[in-house]
Amino acid sequence: MSREWPLWEIFIRSQHGLAHKHVGSLHAPDAEMAIKNARDVYTRRNEGVSIWAVKSSDIVASSPGEKEPMFEPASSKVYRHPTFFPMPDEVKHI
């Protein structure tokens, strides 16, 4: 006995208008079974209205070792947030 079924990452959209969110993974022989298994494993209580299944081996991830060069540059650019610009109290609707 033999090879394992491939691993799939499962994404669920909880209600119309929200993005699909990663909920976990599971094993399945093919895409169709991955969706069926995802329904049983991850939506037993009306958690979702849509399922995406992606083979884990097809996911490309940023490396944890490169966290600083990847994400540090954003932290000094505080002017990207609206709160950086104080507005006079008498100015409305801005």
Binding site: M1, S2, R3, E4, W5, L7, G24, S25, L26, H27, P29, D30, M33, D40, V41, Y42, R44, R45, A61, S63, P64
Partner: protein, 330 residues
């Protein structure tokens, strides 16, 4: 507690000064409550301990389906049957969440299953007891799931991201399990004298094994200290056990049934219930494989795995054949 006596490989707890720079940085992240994710650097012992703990937890969910599955065909009403099926299906789901969490640490699903079947990996001692009457399904939901929740709620805050996220999902679903059990107990205790006697009998048989689920006293255990330092164990076995007793005794009072412990009584000074001595030899025997149902449980798992082998192989062969046909058509 679904993971009992987890070995950390530690001989003694090391201070920050005795750690390598990498270990120190790791411990600092744990201390700051920053979650450790699968691709982050982690000490090998942390990885191995978590594989042992999470896989033991997963195996418990899966083996835990057997004692309850025993009553699906004999549930007293169609609604009780549907509810019990939903509960057993949840246990399967919980096992799968946990297996996935363990797989992120680099162990394969097949390896974990093989370790369960060879006896190398353990599952909770509690599932080696038989379910003799319908009242046992009530007692399991009330006591066993109650004890599991007691253990799992603190684990939602554990240091390993995938384990913590799996525990959050499990806890959300688990309180239904405890309530359905207590609901069965209420029904029996408000029923005929025979039905109430069934409820009392189930409590008599499940009370001590439920207390043993938390594991032996571990205040002085180096493994517990190591697991606490890594934040993969949040409260000691005795603390969890005391909390469980304190919350459960008033529930039994409500039902009008009594714990099989003549020494159980409220201690106003401590603000806790005092209780009688637990027979730890019984726990050690069950963990060693000599409980009432150990062999039966393992045989059922191995049979299910072996009987399903052709289905797993056929599904994979079918998927590969279809993929190859798709490639030719393209």
């Amino acid at each position: 507690m679904y993971a009992q006596m987890v070995d950390t490989g530690a001989k003694k707890l090391r201070s920050l000064e005795e750690m390598t720079p990498e270990e120190r940085a790791f411990q600092a992240r744990v201390d700051a409550d920053i979650k450790i994710e699968p691709k982050d650097w982690m000490p090998e012992a942390y990885r191995k301990t978590l594989i042992r703990q999470i896989s033991q937890h997963a195996h418990s969910e899966i083996v835990g389906m057997l004692p309850e599955g025993n009553w699906i065909t004999r549930a007293p009403t169609l609604q009780r049957k549907a509810i019990l099926m939903a509960k057993v299906q949840d246990e399967a789901g919980h096992g799968l969440y946990l297996y996935c969490a363990a797989e992120t640490l680099g162990v394969s699903r097949d390896q974990m299953v093989a370790d369960l079947h060879s006896g190398k990996a353990k599952y909770s001692s509690i599932f080696n007891y038989p379910t003799l009457s319908w009242a046992d399904i009530g007692a399991i939901g009330w006591l066993v799931d109650g004890a599991a929740i007691m253990n799992q709620i603190p684990l939602c805050r554990c240091s390993f991201g995938p384990y913590s996220r799996a525990m959050i999902r499990v806890c959300k679903e688990e309180s239904f399990h405890q309530r359905q059990g207590f609901d069965i107990m209420i029904k029996l205790c408000r029923g005929t004298p025979e039905q109430k006697a069934m409820a009392q009998d189930a409590l008599n048989r499940w009370w001590w094994p439920s207390l043993m689920m938390f594991g032996p006293p571990d205040a002085s255990s180096v493994h517990s200290a190591q697991s606490a330092q890594w934040k993969i164990k949040i409260l000691s076995n005795d603390e969890l056990r005391q909390r469980f007793i304190d919350q459960t005794v008033p529930q039994a009072d409500f039902l009008g049934i009594t714990m099989p412990d003549p020494e159980l009584k409220w201690n106003a000074e401590r603000g806790h219930y005092d209780f009688g001595a637990i027979d730890w030899n019984e726990l050690y025997e069950v963990v060693k494989g000599n409980g009432p149902c150990n062999r039966e449980r393992l045989r059922a798992r191995v049979d299910a795995w072996e009987s399903g082998a052709w289905v797993r192989e056929a599904a994979l062969a079918h998927a590969e054949k279809r993929a190859a046909a798709g490639r030719r058509a393209a």
